[in-house]
């Protein structure tokens, strides 16, 4: 049996331990952890307090988007006011915050993220190039 016949089995063997644990590319969480390090490990929680790395990561895993807002509201001052965070959440996420203490919103992968349009764009580019390659002589 040629070894390439084993490729699908190898792919499945690799997929089994990874599905449920990781994604194919950096998720927003990984991105925020890099941001977190870049901001001298001082991102804010929903109350304006500082987050530890562990807290930041789990907050992100929980779908808490205020890390994004904290970063985008970042002005170089460590003393961001809660009101500014709320304004930022409303602005960035295009939602209306019902109360000052309600900052937690989930951003699904195919909801507020570019996952679907980006996937479609890449598929379009790929299949367009594929058609071109079939028309080329030789």
């Amino acid at each position: 049996m040629k070894w390439r016949a084993c490729l699908p089995a190898l792919a499945i063997l690799l997929l089994i331990p990874t599905v449920g644990l990781a994604d194919g590319d950096p998720s927003e969480c990984q991105f925020y952890i890099v941001l977190y390090e870049r901001c001298n490990r001082t991102l804010f929680d929903e109350n304006g307090g500082f987050l530890s790395e562990d807290e930041a990561y789990h907050s992100c895993l929980d779908g808490n988007i205020n890390l994004r807002c904290a970063d985008q509201c970042w002005t170089g001052s460590l003393n961001q006011k809660c009101r500014e965070l709320v304004d930022c959440i409303e602005d960035v996420c295009d939602i209306e915050v019902s109360g000052d203490d309600d900052y937690t919103y989930g951003c699904s992968a195919f909801g507020g993220s570019p996952a679907l349009p980006l996937t479609v764009l890449m598929l379009l580019i790929g299949f367009t190039l594929f058609r071109m390659s079939r028309k080329e002589p030789g």
Partner: protein, 115 residues
């Protein structure tokens, strides 16, 4: 974060390498196609994870530019290592392989199978 990256690398290889082999079928031996596809992924994956985020403030800009850059680099790598394959075919394979790994990852995450 290293373990998360290694798991992600495994997932990416599992999705992308068969796509590269499929697109090179009949033109490049499967073994060489698999190695050429894997080489591109091994080259670009750490860049996308650890280096590229440092240039951006928002996730959308990061992921859109990063994925397209990765697809182009992997396409050229695949073209160079697979040989006997047209450049347009190599880059098309790369775009579709990366769309598959990124899209599948996002889809599985959206239904709660991935973190």
């Amino acid at each position: 974060m290293i373990f998360a990256w290694l798991r992600s690398l495994g997932f990416t290889l599992a999705v992308e390498v068969p796509v590269f082999v499929l697109f090179a079928r009949g033109q490049v031996p499967a073994g060489r196609a698999a190695l050429a596809g894997a080489a591109g992924t091994l080259l670009t994956h750490p860049v996308l994870w650890f280096l590229w985020p440092r240039f951006f403030h928002d996730y959308t800009s990061f992921i859109v530019t990063g994925e397209i850059l990765v697809a182009v680099i992997e396409g050229f790598t695949f073209f160079a290592l697979a040989r006997s394959l047209r450049l347009s075919r190599a880059i098309s394979a790369s775009f579709i392989a990366n769309a598959a790994s990124y899209g599948l990852g996002a889809l599985l995450r959206s239904i709660g199978l991935l973190f």
